[in-house]
Symmetry: C2
């Protein structure tokens, strides 16, 4: 049991919010999980960019960037290395029912968590039974409707592996239960297209940037199960794990991708 | 702006909950909207049945039925006719991340709202642009991941109609933005199959029961857009509206289904 080190709700430290909040009623909001080191958020511009994308898509009110940075930085001081979760909802409902009135003022919640333990040395990946619904209106953004990920984690808890790969209802491989995924081939890296479902992670965006900077070929493509079977290597990404090598997928041994080390170096060098 | 008449969180009247609640973080919970009349919840056994279905599917802790009935009844006394919304979440997170620990204790929230104004006399229905993602693991239950409905209501707000019909990503007509749907044909009523997406509403269940009791033929089927075009009548259902006649669909005039009156009578006679 690891409760957060500290919680702020609209800048106040009492950690309580209204039972009327649309974040609770409908998952009407977005969030970010931010790596913080030496008292500063890492890769903040990409988190802010995704918050803007999500707020634009859902027509959510968005606080000033300066205010968010100030609160995240205040929490980042709690530990040399920690995770700050930022939740932005549409705020308390002004009327009954799904429809927003357009006059909502938003709720911002910032929680600081201890840095989690490192994953085990052998990191095995398997394809999940659970599939993901497809909705281009919600694809890519990190909104608060995350029951699919909760169910995937329940499946993972009894699976003989460290991460599950999730396919869309139409069959394409999309992402991990809490990560994005990259397949390694001789000529290029391949990562799934996220136009129909999945979250476009900040670490995924950093790998794309690093590939461009280092002139490593990368394709964003529909990843069929057949393509997965042909991959020589695989790694999953999120801001906590960075680039995490998978040592096997569905029981098939994989090699360590030779591109990982240079990508990780480039990304770490661009944290602030 | 219509705030609730009263709110209870875990039986207490202060209306505040913890920012750690998994209902907020992930939409990890279920809800019911209950019609209350003369101080009593209507059709309670069907609401309880769906709560059990949802809690089973998500492995949520469920309070004792007696406790829920007591709280709903306490709120139902606020007005001769009102709506009580009951939200049951997995409760405050005991650890960071999507995975539940299994030791969560649950949060229960009960909100009493004024009875809403009646719909306008002409009730027009149109097919929405927005489509619904398909996930059999979440289909049928009334969980808290409701961003699709929020987006549908935003589309409805600028559409020239009173309700939108939503299709699944695979093309089948599933439901309204806040209702279930029935198509009327000469020989039978038809309502969409909800195995892949959609909420199986309490009023939908009552129409199925009433059809059986009154020996009116009814089919649960995949509703293609072509089938919709052939329907002579259409009505939408929820516990607030009951059986609401649609006077047109996508601009095509519809007749009033002759079966509605007897179905509505049977359902009203079985409220308690």
């Amino acid at each position: 049991m690891a409760p957060p080190l500290r919680a702020l709700v609209n800048g106040r430290g009492d950690g309580a919010l209204l039972a009327l909040d649309r974040g609770l009623h409908f998952g009407d909001g977005v969030f970010e999980t931010i790596r913080c080191m030496a008292g500063q958020p890492c890769w903040w511009p990409l988190h802010w960019q995704r918050l803007q994308l999500g707020a634009g898509r859902l027509a959510l009110p968005l606080p000033a960037q300066q205010q968010l940075v100030a609160e995240v930085t205040e929490l980042a001081r709690m530990a040399e290395r920690c995770l700050v979760k930022l939740i932005l909802t549409r705020g308390p409902a002004l009327a009954r029912g799904y429809a927003p009135t357009g006059d909502e003022t938003g709720t911002r919640i910032a929680l600081c968590y201890e840095w989690p333990p490192a994953p085990p040395p052998m990191f095995r990946v398997r394809t999940a039974q659970l599939t993901l619904g497809e909705n281009p209106a919600l694809a890519g953004i990190k909104h608060l409707n995350r029951l699919e990920q909760v169910l995937a984690q329940r499946e993972l808890a009894v699976a003989d592996c460290e991460e599950l790969l999730l396919c869309a209802s139409s069959g394409a491989v999309i992402c991990g239960s809490m990560s994005n995924v990259f397949l390694g081939f001789e000529d290029a890296l391949v990562t799934p297209d996220l136009e129909q479902c999945g979250v476009a992670g900040v670490m995924r965006a950093l790998v794309l940037q690093a590939c461009a900077a280092l002139q490593l070929p990368l394709r964003i493509a529909t990843v069929t199960p057949a393509l997965l079977v042909g991959a020589a290597s695989l790694f999953v990404t999120n801001v906590r794990l960075g680039l995490q090598t998978a040592h096997s997928v569905d029981g098939r041994a994989l090699r360590v991708d030779p591109r990982i080390a240079s990508l990780q170096r480039w990304i770490d060098a661009h944290a602030f």
